[in-house]
């Protein structure tokens, strides 16, 4: 076996195997020249920094040209779908938020919409809860696109755009932390509404953010949009036309870069998206550059939606009125990280035995969901995020399946990369914006 810093060859039945760690290219190149076989198989990853987590790309190359490309996935499989079957419906949000960790609010909302559909309470979810859901999803869209652009730029060697992207994403995460208590993995959206109302100062901070973001977004244009190097690396790379998108089930920016303005927020509105004013940007270049422009424009549109959310926030409940579903108290953050509401404890411990029993049963046992199945889908920053939920009438999900857009879109990698250059593989994969937490779940 070779140590990580030793690029010496290792003989196998498939031919010599080299472990490349950088700085040892000469040895590899000379060995490749001596080999009588032109065919080289490159294993990129699973720990390569350009692979968005732990993705393994298996490339067969002929010179600089990729003749065959395959993905090896599953390195981040954590069995979330199986785990959900052993928790209550409410606890489910704690798990799904960890799937695609860059789009937690989309996972939570899609899951909760499916559970609400099974319960038949879609129309009972309070307006304020829906508005806050939309606002958080759109802020989340901005933060997810910022990571896509930032890491995509870094993979091209453009570190400035990486710094810009993570700088602005930090502003969004600060808002998330203020509202939910956590920067990621929030479990803030719950079946029936939200865990908490917005804290004081949240609206002001979001307004401040929108203002700041309006100033910052043009910087990306100045830095990248017209940049000849940037365009040279991105244009006509990762090409996938509409036919390819439909066959491979690609959605989101990939589909819209092929010119089809398909967006579930417009086509099958949820959470009241039909009442918001926004545009669905498209491109007709079918390439990585088009997807970059779409992401940039979608962030502007998200800012528009966030502003509309702020304007229509009315005081009111953020959870359904049905006490058999809604957890009874406004929870606070305790010193051990668990929430307690002193008023509520006073009531159930001091005045009402029935309230105590009800609280205990609802929290430990959970609510029952009538048997059946439901599918709900939201437009996540990466495409159609679908949730298939099956209930057998119990207090736990019988089966939850996430159709994660990263998983489906990553299949298009081979179609985008084969026949292109090795260096373009990185650009193509970055333009898909796969997040392995979502791919592997």
């Amino acid at each position: 076996m070779t140590t990580p810093n030793d690029a010496g060859p290792r003989e196998t039945t498939e031919g010599p195997v080299y472990t490349v760690t950088g700085g040892d290219w000469d040895e590899i190149a000379s060995a490749a020249q001596q080999a009588d076989d032109e065919r080289i198989i490159v294993n990129m990853g699973p720990q390569h920094p350009s692979t968005h987590g732990v993705l393994r790309l298996i490339l067969e190359i002929d010179g600089e040209t990729v003749t065959e490309a395959r993905c090896g996935i599953g390195y981040l499989h954590t069995g979330i779908e199986k785990n959900l079957e052993f928790r209550t419906w409410t606890q489910g949000t704690t798990f799904v938020t960890r799937m695609d960790y860059l789009t937690p609010f989309f996972n939570e909302t899609a899951y909760c919409l499916a559970v609400e559909k099974l319960l038949g309470i879609e129309d009972d979810v309070p307006d304020r809860a829906s508005v806050v859901r939309v606002m958080l999803m759109e802020l989340n869209r901005i933060s997810s696109h910022l990571v896509a652009i930032a890491t995509g730029g870094m993979e091209l060697g453009a570190t400035t755009i990486m710094i810009y992207g993570f700088r602005d994403r930090e502003l969004v995460l600060d808002i998330f932390e203020l509202i939910t208590g956590l920067r990621m993995n929030h479990a803030y959206v719950r079946p029936g509404g939200l865990a908490q109302d917005l804290p004081p100062g949240a609206v002001d901070q979001v307004r401040e953010f929108v203002k700041k973001m309006r100033r910052n977004l043009p910087e990306y244009d100045k830095l990248a949009t017209g940049n000849p190097i940037f365009k040279g690396r991105m244009q006509d790379v990762g090409y996938l036309d509409l036919t390819g998108c439909m066959a491979l089930g690609a959605t989101g920016p990939i589909l819209r870069s092929a010119g089809l303005p398909h967006d579930l927020r417009k086509a099958q509105p949820y959470c009241g998206y039909e009442t918001y004013d926004f545009d669905v940007p498209t491109a007709d270049s079918c390439d990585a550059y088009g997807r970059f422009l779409i992401r940039l424009e979608e962030m502007r549109q998200s800012l528009r939606i966030v502003e509309q959310c702020l304007d229509r926030l009315q005081p009111g409940p953020v959870m359904v009125a049905d006490k058999k579903i809604a957890w009874p108290a406004q929870l606070a953050l305790g010193p051990d990280g668990l929430g307690n509401s002193l008023d509520h404890i006073k009531k159930i411990m001091g005045t009402s035995m029935e309230a105590l029993i009800h609280h205990f049963k609802l929290v430990t046992e959970g609510f029952r969901v009538p048997p059946g199945q439901a599918y709900s889908a939201v437009e996540s920053p990466k495409g159609e995020l679908g949730v298939h939920v099956v209930s057998d009438g119990g207090t736990r999900p019988y089966r939850v399946h996430f159709r994660d857009p990263s998983f489906t879109n990553l299949q298009a990698m081979a179609a985008m990369c084969e026949g292109g250059q090795v260096a373009d593989v990185i650009v193509a994969v970055a333009s898909i914006d796969p997040v392995m937490g979502g791919v592997d779940r």
Binding site: F86, G249, L362, Q373, Q411
Partner: protein, 296 residues
């Protein structure tokens, strides 16, 4: 909802729009009615196998549409997937609460009758017509149609799945261009159809979404692959194979995708344990999640 609707437990009846139809569901799905409070005295009666059309409290489920959708009260409607005993998941005795004798039959929503409501009828008509044109008897291909929670589900006989999928994709009046993959469901209580493969098809042209469901027995878990029709299902079928052991015949390379290649067993099946170890929290031993008390 004044019309009696004897068979279709959840069909939306004559509602013209279909989408806003709340009808029977609205009552059935309120979480108030299931016994979250441990006070549903009706359940044992409802689950008794006697074919008496009269339910508890003198309600005739064949007349009162709302009554039949109450969980545990669907009588012969719907698809039985299991029976629950007791209240607290304690199967080994020791239940002193008096709820230990509760028996409830679990039924999934059953067959719907025409009209399905909204565009559902149009899709069903077009599909049946298109299948007939190809010399197929629609009743053989479509085993059952279920309308539940504003969603349309066709249960397809597995040998006809590729034809049905191709028809749904290519017929100009149907045009379900986008398949959102396949999801497996393991229902050990659904005898003869223990493993279900569930496909969601989206039509961007007509802005519609339908569901196809294929049920196969556990001892013969083969389903024809639809990768020919929807190449996007390549990885999805591998995933479903990996987790449920469903074999998609005709798939170009049906291998494990998430689990290691040499993994034994199919983790998402209900007979596969979750695993885990007990952990200590504030001095107490907390058992692994699948060893904790559950509420049936």
């Amino acid at each position: 909802m004044s019309e009696p609707n004897p068979k279709g437990s959840n069909s939306k009846g004559p509602d013209p729009k279909g989408r806003d139809a709340k009808g029977p569901d609205a009552n059935g799905s309120k979480a108030k009615s299931p016994d979250a409070n441990g006070s549903n005295a009706k359940a044992p009666d409802a689950a008794s196998p006697a074919p008496v059309p009269k339910g508890p409290n003198g309600v005739n489920p064949d007349k009162d549409v709302a009554a039949q959708t109450l969980p545990g009260q669907r009588l012969d409607h719907g698809e039985v997937i299991g029976v629950r005993h007791g209240m607290f998941g304690a199967g080994d005795g020791g239940d002193t609460t008096g709820y230990g004798r509760l028996v409830r039959t679990v039924r999934l929503p059953g067959r719907a009758t025409r009209p399905y409501g909204g565009w559902f009828d149009e899709v069903a008509d077009e599909l049946e017509g298109a299948l007939e044109e190809q010399g197929l008897v629609p009743e053989n291909a479509i085993e059952k149609t279920v309308v539940d929670r504003d969603e349309l589900t066709f249960h397809i006989a597995r040998e006809h799945l590729p034809v049905v999928a191709r028809t749904l994709r290519d017929d100009p009046a149907l045009r379900f261009e986008l398949c959102t993959g396949v999801s497996g469901v393991h229902l050990p209580g659904d005898k003869g159809r223990e493993l279900h493969a569930v496909y969601h098809l989206r039509s961007i042209t007509h802005n519609r979404l339908i569901r196809l469901e294929v049920g196969v027995p556990d001892d013969d878990r083969h389903i024809p692959s639809v990768v020919d029709v929807y190449p996007t299902n390549d990885w999805h079928e591998r995933e479903t194979y990996d987790f449920f052991g469903l074999v998609f015949d005709g798939h170009p390379a049906l291998t494990r995708i998430m689990m290691p290649d040499d993994w034994q067993g199919f983790p998402q099946r209900k007979d596969y344990p979750l695993g885990g170890i007990p952990v200590e929290y504030k001095g107490a031993q907390i058992p692994a999640p699948d060893q904790r008390r559950s509420y049936s």
